[in-house]
Amino acid sequence: MNTDNFTFLCRSRSLFGKNALEHLPFELSGMGARKVFVLRDNASESSDSIRHLRPAFADSGMTLGLCPPPDQNSGTGTDILKDCYRTFTGKGYDSIIALGTGPITDLAKALNLAVSLGPEVFKRGIQPQDQAKSLLPFAYLPTRGGSGRESSCRACCNAQIFELPALAPDIVLTDERLMAADTKENIICSAFSALSVCCETFVFADNPMAKAYASAGISLLMEHLFPLLETENEWNARPAAVGNKYRRNLACIAHASAISGFLLANSTSIISFHLGNFIAENADTSGLTAGSAAAIFLPRVLEQFAGNTPALAQLLLPLGGQDAFSAVPPVQQAAAAIHILQNILNRFYQISFGAVPRSLGDAGIDKSAVARLQEKIQQEDIWTETGISGAGRDKIAAVLLRS
């Protein structure tokens, strides 16, 4: 472990647990907020989260502005953003809450950029002088697992990508009362994305703080993912009735996903995560989500890039727990860690009756398709972003073939 030189920035305050929602007015008012603009998605409607949000702000002296969830008839993303911008500035709001995951957090981040740096930021892009500017207080309240990008410092708006440290939420609040029933595919996608980011960071990052975050994320996933999905008998049944146990486990997955966002904000070279997203976007198969693809690549990426290093051996500790770690001899720990990761995939393949793929072949991607994807990957510039050189690209080719 190199502890001589490292940087880790996590701008978000994480609030988690029972009645955590009631802390929100205090935390926001500490940032000078008085009027809060709430953006919410359809999942927040189904979880009835506003019913919990309103009493949490009672006696706080703060005003809440509730936007309706955007639907198909709301027009394009630009129209919604313009509408939100007009309302926000017209009524004098001073802080933002994103209640939901995915596109709603991108909308909240874009709105924060527009109201803090001016709407012209979408034309001129983010300039070097903007790096030092602070944005308005922004809280992210997940209602589902999420993709991990919600808590990162990246926003995607109308195919434009904005990256700014201040874009990361100031508060990430996970309260189990806000959790909505989700499909098993979405839960697995969230969990696998987070697992890929956390495992890769744990193994490759020469950064003790990133390792600590990654270890916490892996432990949360290993403890709560199987109880969340194995309690249901029928894989194809509709989303489970939202009981307290379900909400608790889902909140832990959402928290792990938020941790993966903090790690994404500090590292660009998460190979399996980027590879998973690339394959999910470019492969001619509908059943493969970015998270599942990332999880397929994860054991192979670790094998190819980490080999039998001590860092990979240490991954067994958060993955398998203290008992497993102490039971396996040090020379076998790296192989045992890979084995656990592969077993997770195999187990989900079994309980999902084949819906969650174990390999690219299970997802309907044959060898010729892999060769085509391989060519496409070599042409793409995602590897410039991840900082992978020529030798690394050869290893990626091997990862694809072995997956």
């Binding site: 009631e22 205090f26 008012s29 009672a58 006696d59 005003t63 007009r86």
Partner: protein, 176 residues
């Protein structure tokens, strides 16, 4: 924007009324216990003269102020923070958390562990104030309820459980 709603979350009258009543009783009981109980006396003796502390909820929730004057007499000083300078503020982050604390669904240590409290002032005196409140809660509440409010029910002498408790309760009712 269609469907946009602006709401100003209301104040919860009955919840605040309950907290006002509880704080008044607790304040008077602390004043009474400071005259009867040796442990409470010791805690107040360690505090400087004219020292005041408050327990309340953020941002403008009900609160109580307890102070020690120059003669070392402990008094319940009401709830007006503007009239009375306060040296130590113990604040719960929301009225709901304060309600949980004073309905004994969450004990003081649990509330502290869940990061519900903030202290502005001297931490040693804040710990003393919490110890005083724990003792007073044992005097005021029946055993089963006091067990929920504090971390560990104390082993007191028979006199303390009966005679001292009666004295504290009478003094609390009469307000001296």
């Amino acid at each position: 924007m269609e469907g946009f709603i602006e709401i100003r979350p209301r104040r919860r009258f009955f919840l605040r009324l309950y907290l006002h009543i509880m704080l008044r009783v607790l304040g008077r009981a602390i004043q009474a216990a400071a005259r009867v109980d040796e442990d409470v006396k010791k805690e107040f003796n360690a505090m400087p003269e004219n020292y005041t502390f408050s327990l309340g909820a953020f941002p403008a929730g009900p609160c109580m102020i307890i102070g020690k004057d120059t003669q070392g007499i402990v008094r319940y000083m009401g709830s007006d923070m503007e009239k009375q300078p306060v040296h130590l503020k113990i604040t719960l982050k929301s009225v709901r958390h304060f309600f949980s604390l004073l309905t004994f669904t969450e004990s003081t240590p649990v509330s502290n562990a869940r990061n519900r409290m903030i202290v502005s002032g001297d931490v040693p005196y804040a710990c003393a104030a919490v110890r005083i409140m724990d003792i007073v809660q044992v005097y005021l509440l029946p055993r089963w309820m006091a067990k929920m409010a504090i971390k560990r029910y104390p082993r007191w002498t028979f006199k303390r459980h009966t005679v001292d408790r009666a004295k504290v309760l009478i003094r609390t009712l009469l307000g001296f």
